[in-house]
Amino acid sequence: MNVSIVPTLRVLRPAATVALVGLIGIIAGFYANATLFTDTSPEQPIAFSHKIHAGDNEVPCLYCHVQARRSISAGVPSVNKCMGCHLEVATDRPQIRLLANYWDTKEPIPWIKVHDLPDFVHFTHKRHVQAGIECQTCHGPVETMAVVSREAPLKMGLCLNCHKDNAVENGTDCWTCHK
């Protein structure tokens, strides 16, 4: 008996086409969300400009992110620290008034995290800062950003490539970075 699958394929073709178009749609939708609709520079409660502080006035990163050289987290400066300068400096600007308001009410400022890693990743600022890695390597040219945005993707490839290029001790062992 002569059997051909061609008729069956012919019947399936419209369905396959629909499925294919649907799949392309899913991929397109996924990427559209990830690239167009993901906010890499969210609006912060105070329009703090790294450009003014770290760029124009050349305040060193570690002056405010003082924990970075000795802790896993870089730390955000306390309102106390901000007020250390802004009791005197630029007190008439609206954004500084906003800050002073937080200070007066002793409310914390709910900054939104721009650079975030998943919970299963162990990253320590301390080791990287002490190894002399520039902050900009991962965070991008923050000193030029009026509004901070996530420049580097902070994906595993970025870490691994750097670890390989610099021949980091045990730099590719999973348990060095995964907890």
Binding site: A19, G25, G29, I72, S78, H125
Partner: protein, 757 residues
């Protein structure tokens, strides 16, 4: 595709848009939620994100008083470890101590002061403010002549002082410390023999031969972590001869499992057994003290043969144990648990403790060493409420003599037998105030709840009981900011005192000040000019503990009167042997202690070491007995005494006497939160009100019960699998004399190869 018709086209457009939508949503669903970085306005001094801060304090889970170091990150407590500087636990901690964090972060804590609305016991409390709550109580306490009873858990240090001052100021008030596990009989025995108010230090670390009469010293007797350290040291620490250790009890405890020899003795016969051993020591001429003749005369009736008859231990074994005990230097005898919980408890412990005197180990390394009086707070044994006191309190209350009852973190409704009548007593007390952090059974009966902090949020200080042979004191400091609108017990008392105008006697406004004032005295003990108090206080907070390694005078003489009266009467049991054929042996389990561990989920999930049971109660029964009764592991049985009954599943237990059944204490809560409620059964409830007349302690091992099959099965949940090795050689043994030949010093010597040929 040239001739796509309209229908086809719409289909494709539809598929495409659904796809895009689905893809978008998929990306959305795996997106990381927005996280915030919230800095402090003004950061606390030691605060640094990402770096752990450790605070030294004192464990509050049991009365042993271990030092703890709590790891905190970003202001939250993450882990409790032992404080290495504390001489009691030297950095180590037991399971219950580890679980202390679940007291702090328990989801069932009382979060604010509350007032009862409507009928008692219907759980209808409404939140109130501290001001109102305190005013409510102090208003009632301020009425002249109001009869008040302050019933506290056993507290020490400055808080105990404060309680004393507070009750004294109240006038017609009585202060009682009540703990289920308080060793009344042991205190009474040491007092009678040596006139000692404090419990002695048992130097297990340096002894060569340990004879334990029922004391589950590795599990929860007195100071289990310290005992375990000593046990580990004397077993395999250094080059010293390995400890030989004999445990004598009717049901194998955790300590019994660790023993080299486990001897089953009839419940209540431990005392005569000890006297039989003493008799043999004297008969063998191994005691040469000037009072040897008095002892010989007093012990004349306790020949090994007669003792064997009463205890069920063979005469030859008694003779051998006596010989071993007398020959080993140093040898140590301890007694507690099943030996202390009969109607002859004090006499039994006097007999056991006398063994130490007869082998001359008092004040010696590896023996029994007297402890100095506490450096802060009142004496440990003062105002301790035994069962008789609690029963009298219940009676008085029922007669309407008690107007106000203030309960501080103790739960008599759970830890007293129904026969004590405490529930009825509570019903006739007009005002009950509870300072508990949890809605336990007693607190559920309260009118006003003024919730206290957990120990991890409070200021306090402590002198461990028993001590370690020299003066030790420790400070407990808050390791986290209070989670809820609660206050420390001390601050609640200070608040009431302030309302009542007790300013002159109680001058402090905060507990921290009160503690510091107490420690000024300790500071004054130091050499003059050794620094000011502030730097001393700073050092104490940092190390968490203070000690003065000076042994007190160790003069041990036993008066002739005591020797002449030595003797142990036959134990008294409630219930007729015919109707109630078994002696019920309730024991404190590893995880629950006296029931306080039941609301901690880690403790519920910690398998009982011996049976591997989790989340429930069970009845341990000898395999031969179970066989005879046709019972199998997992059969639900009714355990009935003259006072009541409980239903629990049977667990076949290879090391329990055939006419004894055992049940763990701690489960069977009607209250105490989601993890504890309606789980298992409470054996204390069915205990008969038999006491040891000397100490007034409840004889918890003096109740006879019947065991009747219900015909239903409800196997206890166990995590352990097969409990026999079946030739797998998982646990291996060696005799002390075996040489090294059978061992592979090179453990990894077997080559393995997958290289190609």
């Amino acid at each position: 595709m040239a001739n796509v018709d309209r229908r086809e086209f719409l289909k494709l457009v539809g598929a495409g848009s659904v796809g895009v939508g689905a893809g978008y949503l998929l990306a959305e669903s795996i997106k990381h939620p927005v996280e915030h970085l919230i800095p402090y306005s003004v950061p606390p001094e030691e605060f640094s994100p990402g770096i752990a801060t450790w605070y030294n304090s004192v464990c509050g889970m049991c009365p042993a008083g271990c030092g703890i170091s709590v790891r905190t990150r970003e202001g939250r407590a993450k882990k409790i470890e032992g404080n290495p500087a504390h001489p009691v636990n030297q950095g180590r901690l037991c399971a219950l101590g580890q679980a202390g964090l679940q007291t702090l972060y328990n989801p069932d804590r009382i979060t604010a002061p509350m007032l009862l609305q409507g009928k008692r016991g219907n759980d209808a409390f409404v939140e109130t403010t501290w001001k109102e709550g305190l005013a409510n109580v102090s208003g009632r306490l301020g009425v002249p002549g109001v009869a008040t009873v302050v019933l506290s858990q056993g507290v020490r240090g400055q808080l105990a002082n404060l309680l004393e001052l507070f009750t004294a100021e109240l006038g017609s008030a009585e202060l009682l410390h009540y703990d289920f596990a308080h060793p009344h009989t042991l205190y009474a025995a040491n007092e009678r023999l040596f006139g000692q108010q404090q419990l002695p230090y048992y130097d297990i670390a340096n002894t060569r031969y340990l004879m334990s009469f029922g004391a589950d010293f590795l599990n929860n007797w007195l100071s289990p972590v310290h005992h375990s350290l000593g046990f580990g040291h004397s077993r395999q620490g250094g080059d010293a001869q390995r400890l030989r250790f004999v445990q004598i009890e009717p049901k194998m405890s955790i300590s019994g499992a660790a023993a080299d020899e486990w001897v089953a003795a009839r419940p209540g016969s431990e005392g005569v057994l000890a006297l039989g051993i003493a008799h043999q020591i004297l008969a063998g001429g191994r005691y040469s003290g000037s009072d040897a003749d008095d002892w010989t005369a007093a012990l004349a009736d306790y020949s090994p043969e007669l003792v064997a008859e009463q205890s069920g231990v063979a005469a030859a074994t008694i003779v051998r144990l006596a010989d071993e005990f007398a020959q080993a230097k140093p040898a140590l005898a301890i007694g507690g648990g099943s030996a202390a919980n009969n109607s002859n408890g004090t006499d039994t412990l006097v007999a056991v403790t006398a063994l130490n005197y007869l082998v001359g180990n008092i004040g010696q390394a590896g023996g029994l060493i007297f402890n100095p009086d506490p450096v802060t707070g009142p004496s440990a044994s003062s105002r301790r409420a035994n069962y008789e006191v609690m029963r009298d309190l219940a009676e008085a209350a029922q007669q309407g003599v008690v107007d106000v009852l203030i309960v501080n973190n103790t739960n008599p409704l759970f830890t007293l037998p129904t026969a004590a009548g405490f529930k009825e007593a509570l019903a006739s007390i007009p005002l009950i105030v509870s300072l508990s952090s949890f809605m336990d059974e007693t607190t559920a009966m309260a009118d006003v709840i003024l919730p206290s902090h957990t120990y991890l949020e409070s200021w306090g200080d402590d002198v461990p009981q028993p001590g370690v042979g020299f003066s030790v004191a420790a400070v407990s400091q808050p390791v986290v900011a209070p989670l809820y609108n609660t206050r420390s017990t001390g601050d609640i008392l200070l608040g009431l005192a302030s309302n009542l105008g007790f300013r002159d006697a109680i001058p402090w406004t905060t507990m921290e000040e009160c503690i510091k004032d107490g420690w000024r005295e300790i500071h004054a003990r130091g050499e003059p000019g050794s620094g000011d108090f502030d730097s001393f206080w700073h050092d104490v907070l940092q190390s968490g503990v203070w000690g003065e390694d000076v042994r007190q005078q160790q003069d041990a003489t036993v008066s002739k009167e005591v020797i002449d009266n030595i003797g142990v009467a036959a134990p008294e049991f409630a219930g007729d042997v015919g109707d109630y054929p078994f002696v019920l042996h309730p024991f404190m389990s590893t995880s629950m202690y006296d029931g306080r561990g039941a609301n901690l989920p880690w403790m519920q999930e910690l398998p009982d070491p011996i049976t591997s049971v989790v989340y429930g109660s069970w009845l341990e029964m000898n395999p031969a007995t179970a066989d005879k009764m046709g019972l199998q592991d997992g059969d639900l049985v009714q355990v009935a005494s003259m006072q009541g009954s409980v239903e629990v599943p049977v667990v076949i237990f290879p090391a329990i006497m055939p006419d004894v059944v055992a049940m763990p204490i701690g489960q069977g809560h009607e209250s105490l939160g989601r993890y504890a409620r309606n789980r298992g059964a409470n054996p204390i409830q069915i205990l008969a009100p038999v006491t040891d007349p000397v100490s007034g302690a409840l004889a918890t091992g003096a109740t006879r019960v019947s065991v009747v099959a219900t015909g239903r099965r409800a196997p206890a949940v166990k995590t352990g699998g097969e409990s026999r090795q079946l030739g797998r050689d998982i646990v291996r043994f060696t005799s002390t004399t075996s040489d090294a030949t059978e061992h592979s010093a090179k453990l990894n010597s077997i080559p393995i190869s997958v290289e190609p040929a």
